[in-house]
Subunit: 368 residues, 2 copies
């Protein structure tokens, strides 16, 4: 697999932590919300094992926030998601599949209710702020839509709890999963959520002051020495095994939330109002013919740059969307859109890459 | 300047030409509309001189199209831009600054009027399709908004005219600047516009059939041998000298179209209806305090990853947004947002990078 450099420019925005991670051995970036998102510090397999055992600090500033404030803020947030937010509470995070009028997936942000009139949508990679602005203008809603300069640091891994307690004090232990609250470090207040894009436990620190965030970054590495802290980033192996879906990789606007397995976040029964509700009601009536599932493939490496068909003879079993070699399972693991007749997981498939066929099997998500 | 790899994934979409350009010596990518956009074949200075003398074929599939069809198509396109499109003709391209309700720049696409009920917006790097969907849903417009699989090939440079005549026949010479029409190659019809992101002349071929596009790509290199054709990409040096603005680099939603010098594309006087019109009327009344201008700096290299202040003593003259070394002018040239009191170009400035100060001067755009 040939490697290519990234050509930097102002358009691919740096973060407050960019110079730090580059000095700490960063080797590869991806681009996410027009921003640099670290992708590797040289060996994602080592990073995978480290993440599952110790603690990592991640520059995930590229998880940009759409801030929606004003009298109609909650109305606008609800219009963009099929999840019922009518009982949403201040201080809680909500995973909200965001759809268009046809029910197609546009993003899957984590929404934070900051107050009755103020929300943040912590985005996957698409300009949901423009969708929000369009709807708000079209309906003349009383809202302001903006992108505040919030630059998230994630602290992930089993030792994240001890590290965060050391830095922010015992009070942080009271935070429940998907809850958020404010905590102090050296006179600065940080919004911290118990969340993050791994299943190894941890926190996301919503940094609103760049300099305070840089000082905190440095402190996390100082205080984290005893916990073997390392810089890291969302890990392809861990996230695929854990079934943390990636917008744009595992689904796009041609897929609906039922096909993505988001059933528990879909409300078609109550009287809430959102764009795409009629489409989802129709889809719910008809049922779906494909859904995202796990796969295991007899390969020791793979590069995914586009969807690949999975076949059984001449029949298409489904389409592979994300895949990576798992050093834990000693196979390639992946996330694929599987056609209904193969949901029983009994049918093997073949994947052809550069004329070579490899055997694979379908499994549930997460992949164990 | 350290270099970093790009971590590929399905989310950073490949184009139909990706394997070809990678085999032709591509070294660096940027990401544009969630897609791979070639950024260099190893030496942008050599590419600059070649572009100004010969002909290049560019994979600019990342210039994605937002397709808007239906009874209200023109109404929706007009709502998104301050340019008066009431006299727009089928077969013509229109550069349309796209703004939000506050008058902030969201994109600067080229709009193609395909028929009375069908438009394409050939995008710079932001999800204007989501803005269009939001407005359409909010106003219940009779439109369909989609992203067709159109993958543009640009043929740029002074010899592009001869190469295109050789491949498509003499009829192509009748095409006027910013006009488009359909032309045949080996039984396939291609929409071709006389346009492109250089000032060296040329065409953009809107490829709607992947395989036909790949065959055309190969033919352009075969037929182009006598014109010294090479693979290329939008060239930072050429585009900055020529003042082809880059959305996200030179401006963003904190800038209004007057500040970008788009006065001739702004209509605040007639009765057309667009979002942000009231904001622009207010801005027009008050006048602006800063605008984009050219700069020349006594440096032999520069890397831009964020806006940099330009100072005269303690006074801020403006902010540098794009810059590159020009082998033609033997200086760094750039595009900067300059404060009003310095528009007379008489005041020199200093730019500080890593503690070293360099002298510079303000000039008009394009930079000669």
């Amino acid at each position: 697999m040939k490697k290519f450099y990234i050509a930097k420019s102002r358009r691919l925005r740096s973060t407050p932590y960019t110079s730090r991670i580059e000095n700490q051995g960063l080797t590869a970036y991806t681009i996410y919300n027009h921003m640099l998102l670290p992708a590797s510090f040289g060996n994602i397999e080592k990073e995978y094992f480290h993440l599952k055992e110790h603690v990592q600090v991640w520059d995930v500033a590229a998880e940009r926030q759409v801030q929606i404030t004003g009298k109609d803020a909650e109305k606008l947030v609800q219009l963009m998601t099929c999840r019922n937010l009518s009982k949403a509470k201040v201080g809680r995070c909500y995973y909200i599949p965001t759809i268009d009028e046809e029910g197609g997936m546009l993003n899957d942000p984590v929404a934070l209710k900051l107050s009755d009139n103020k929300w943040w949508l912590s985005l996957a990679d698409s300009d949901i702020g423009l969708y929000a602005k369009g709807i708000a203008s079209g309906l003349s809603l009383q809202v302001e839509v903006s992108e505040p300069d919030v630059n998230i640091l994630a602290v992930q891994g089993p030792k994240s709890f001890k590290l965060m307690e050391k830095v922010f004090g015992k009070k942080i232990n009271e935070l429940k999963f998907f809850g958020f609250d404010y905590y102090n470090f050296k006179g600065n207040k940080f919004l911290i959520a118990r969340s993050g894009w791994s299943k190894q436990g941890g926190y996301e620190i919503y940094v609103e002051n760049r300099e305070a965030g840089q000082n905190l970054y440095d402190e996390l590495f100082l205080a984290g020495k005893e916990f073997q802290v390392k810089p890291g980033c969302p890990n392809q192996i861990e996230r695929i095994e854990s079934a943390l879906l990636s917008s744009g990789n595992d689904f796009d606007s041609c897929d609906n939330p039922y096909e993505c397995g988001f059933d528990k976040y879909i409300d078609v029964d109550s009287n809430i109002n959102y764009l795409g509700k009629n489409a989802l009601i129709q889809i719910a009536k008809k049922g779906i013919n494909r859904k995202l599932m796990g796969v295991k493939i007899d390969l020791d490496k793979i590069e995914m740059t586009e969807e690949k068909p999975l076949q059984n003879g001449k029949s298409v079993v489904g389409h592979l969307r994300s895949a990576v070699y798992s050093p834990h399972l000693k196979k390639v693991v992946g996330i694929a859109m599987i056609n209904k007749e193969y949901w029983d997981k009994k049918t093997p498939f073949e994947l052809e890459i550069n004329g070579k066929k490899s055997k694979g099997s379908i499994c549930d998500l997460p992949i164990v």
